[in-house]
Amino acid sequence: MIDILNAITLLANYIIVPSLAYGSQLALGALGITLVYAVLRFSNFAHGEMMSFGTMISIFTIWLFQSAGISIHPLPTALLAIPVSIMITIMLLLILDRTVFRYYQAQRVQPVTFMIVSVGVMFFLAGLIRFFIGTSKKNFADGERFIIKASEFKQITGLAEGVSIRTTQAITVIVTLVLVTAVFWFLNKTRTGKSMRAFSDNEDLALLSGIKPERVIIITWMLVGALAAVAGTLYGLDKGYKPFVYLQLVLPIFAAAIIGGVGNPIGAVIGGYVIAFSEAFITFAYKRFFTYLLPEEWAPEGLVQMLSTEYKFAVSFVLLVIVLLVRPTGLFRGKTL
């Protein structure tokens, strides 16, 4: 019995807790991408850099608060900075919309052209971010680091394995839950949300029923900006901020959005967790897990690892290919909100 508990604790410590946090960050990112795709109908490759921009604003705000002596110990100051970051990121996106995207919208260009435009925006933002904050790593997590440490858990329960839960991981999961619920409520219950869904479902019909496209687009960018700022800040809070890492994040985020069905918000959120958990489950070494569960003489000598950790990103790719082959629409039918 103790062995089974130990095995479960082991998985909780190395897979479940980290993947819940990572999955939440991916889910928020994928939700942003899916919203852009559903309403504006293009793949927004600049989303990673938008997240990075939001994080940068959070960091500057945190520094400002810290120098003014404002803190909410034991919680990280980042929570205070997030609203500021959301506002400035939304402003940036609205400016980008006005100066870049609106022009192509008016031309009614092909989605491919739009996609390339977003790549251009991505490079512009990447340069802008490096110009302001540089390329080095910034740690901005303050406050209490752990909710429970592995050693404390071992002491309390008397198990051989411990679970450590970091404050940032818990905050990530809670904030994601709140935000995702809020977005769904907005889309399904409010008049504006419904008009967004109508626009996404059939643009011409929506125009005929008196929905203003400019308004819908502005609201979409505002939602996307908020999601990007929160997702980026949570990721940086949890893992430390390095500007170029956000470019790498674009791959798992797109994989999450596509697996869930592009344009489908529920799918995007679930896709985020699917990617995070499969990366962890497939690259995990089960040696000690089986040592606990199996009789002693059956204990494995090797690491019992399906795929070496270097191939973590490949897992997103493979899942993507499988989903596109077997169920091209994604797990949930995509295209509209």
């Binding site: 390095k242 070494a285 897990f289 950790t309």
Partner: protein, 393 residues
């Protein structure tokens, strides 16, 4: 007109009567190529030793000694051989200091030095293969082989009583070479390696890497990576998940930024990197700065390389490579009077009088078979959240 003057000057030079002896030492370094930023300091180091000896006028009864430089590049072995060929056949150098990179050094050794019987002393070629390559006793190096560092590191691990270790290395030439060399030496010394896994630099998240290492287990985690990159992140992850508490930190992790991040959390972690407490190191750096040069790695090793060539000439009482090659080990190692940087004239005088010297130089030279530096290492440990030096070996 200009041409005529140039030609006549050349004729004049050829016609000018030869002095008792004019010794030429070739300096073949990668002045162009991927490590070109390091070459000037190395060149200045070697030049400094040569001009020190030339000014003293005590080498082989007052012979003059000059340096001839050539570009060995780093990766282009054909260019390195061509440069070596020029130094030996048209400049008639007596010996060569260099080459800089291991590949170039091996190419010059096999293509030029061995056919012509010319001694080569490199101060920076550290590839293990140069220890075993056929060299007719002509090749020496004042820098230790990379294999030697791993040997020392594994020795320390075993001495500290560790029986099993997990190894994570940064996935590049430095990390994978060091990781597998530590594994080989540690296993040879009776230890067990539970896992030897690479990690990529510049990732956002290392939790999967940490999970794999933790499942393999081990008394200690060897982190052959970079303090400011993946290595530091893996230590963070290991501490967070409670999987390892003590870490073995090779030179890439020996940075104050590491202790600034983790403080007392990594107390008891230890490691070693190249370093010496020999007074020669400090003396050399002072002399080097006084001469107006900017210090960079291996400058001292090149001072020593050039100095060893000239001291060996004095000991052999001949400027020919075929004679001096048998005396390099003698002047570098005990017994004899210790010679530090700036004391080359003293060393030459002792040798001229038939005495013996033990050249210490800038890098605490101690040549082990087959003619390479054993290396000097600094062993450190994290105590009270700071790196503290616990000894030299």
């Amino acid at each position: 007109m200009k041409k005529i003057m140039g030609v006549s000057a050349a004729i004049l030079m050829l016609a000018s009567p030869a002095y008792a002896e004019d010794i030429k030492i070739g300096i073949s370094l990668g002045f162009t190529g991927p490590l070109e930023s390091l070459a000037p300091a190395m060149n200045n180091g070697a030049q400094m030793a040569i001009s020190e000896v030339a000014e003293s006028k005590s080498l082989l009864g007052g012979s003059n000694v000059v340096a001839v430089t050539g570009d060995s590049t780093c990766a282009d072995t054909a260019a390195a051989v061509a440069t070596g060929e020029r130094l030996v056949t048209s400049e008639n150098v007596n010996a060569i200091v260099g080459a800089m990179c291991s590949g170039a050094a091996q190419a010059v050794l096999e293509g030029v030095a061995m056919p012509n019987g010319i001694v080569m002393i490199s101060g920076s070629a550290t590839a293990p293969v140069l220890s075993t390559v056929e060299d007719n006793g002509l090749f020496f190096r004042t820098a230790p082989s990379d294999a030697r560092s791993a040997e020392v590191l594994a020795e320390i691990l075993i001495e500290q009583g560790y029986k099993s270790a997990a190894i994570t290395y940064v996935n590049n030439d430095y990390g994978s070479g060091l990781g597998s060399a530590i594994e080989a030496n540690f296993v040879a010394g009776g230890g067990t390696v539970t896992i030897n896994a690479g990690h990529e630099e510049n990732k956002g998240d290392y939790s999967a890497d940490v999970a794999a290492l933790a499942q393999a287990g081990g008394d200690i985690l060897v982190v052959a990576g970079y303090a400011d990159g993946g290595g530091g992140a893996i230590i963070q992850g290991s501490l967070d998940s409670g999987s390892f508490e003590t870490f073995f930190l090779p030179d890439g992790m020996y940075a104050d930024s590491l202790t600034a991040t983790f403080g007392s959390d990594i107390d008891g972690s230890f490691g070693a990197s190249a370093g010496t407490d020999s007074p020669g190191d400090a003396t050399f750096k002072t002399l080097f700065a006084e001469a107006g040069h900017e210090y960079n790695v291996y400058a001292g090793e090149y001072y020593d390389a050039a100095a060893l060539i000239m001291l060996a000439m004095q000991a052999a009482n001949s400027s020919s490579s075929s004679d001096l090659k048998d005396h390099v080990m003698d002047v570098a190692n005990a017994p004899g009077e210790k010679i530090y940087p700036g004391e080359l004239a003293k060393g030459l005088k002792i040798l001229a009088d038939g005495g013996e010297i033990d050249y210490v130089g800038a890098s605490a030279v101690e040549l082990i078979e087959p003619g390479e530096s054993g290396g000097a290492y600094l062993q450190y440990e994290v105590q009270n959240g700071k790196f503290a030096t616990v000894g030299y070996r």
